[in-house]
Symmetry: C2
Subunit: 128 residues, 2 copies
Amino acid sequence: MSPTNSITSAQAGNEALPATKAGTQDVCATPEDPIDKVDPLDDPELAQATKALGNPTRIKIFRLIAERQTCITGELVAELPLAQSTVSEHLRILREANLIQGEIEGPRTSYCINQRVLAALKRSILEL
Amino acid sequence: MSPTNSITSAQAGNEALPATKAGTQDVCATPEDPIDKVDPLDDPELAQATKALGNPTRIKIFRLIAERQTCITGELVAELPLAQSTVSEHLRILREANLIQGEIEGPRTSYCINQRVLAALKRSILEL
DNA sequence: AACGTCTATCGTCGATACACGATAGATAAT
DNA sequence: ATTATCTATCGTGTATCGACGATAGACGTT
């Protein structure tokens, strides 16, 4: 088994958004996906992504992960005036929209931005 | 009184998003706001805008208005498999997020994209 | 004035979101 | 093996969403 186990949005019967084919590549490599080299999201994906961002706390969480490149759940809990379970729930929603990706690193989970989906979101919004 | 009365999102105690100073200009002029000449949305505005778009029906309504430049409520109702009151409710949500603007034209209401806020949204998303 | 048309709002209902505490599972340390 | 730590999930309660039909207000027409 690999030392770090990638956690994607495969639970809860939600696989609407295509996940990056993780396992073969480092999930948090942040290769700075160019906007015009990704396909835009289809409407259900776009709705899910914008819905996931449609909450001030989740926008803040997303920004925190983005500026730190990678982030542990506990760090986010420390930054936010919310219970650990609440933060974990917000992370789940961002994860199921494929906006972020989590890697289980020993006892903790490290999150990073899914650059490919973010680029696709940017392109989709620009095309509105 | 002016022949066309602009309807903005001033009701329901919601004026979080700054409205274009309508009345002095044609609301649906679509001057193609350049993205880098508008201020990005602040986080509550961004959350409200993305939340408003976070629904497949509202994305569809937004696209319909955008491609027709201007659109009557009844046209949208005719295009969608939803009750008139439901469509009107979706329009209210888009309106309160300032993504669209409505003008009362006699007995009907004509909607158009709020280009300034759309440009600000695009910029805000690009900066993520 | 009375009527028909168009659309926003109201009231209702079930489903979903959002917060929390409690619990459980995995891992590292003792 | 036991313990401690970290985080996801479960169960709960409240609030908001998303749909609808019914209603009301504004306007044009007769």
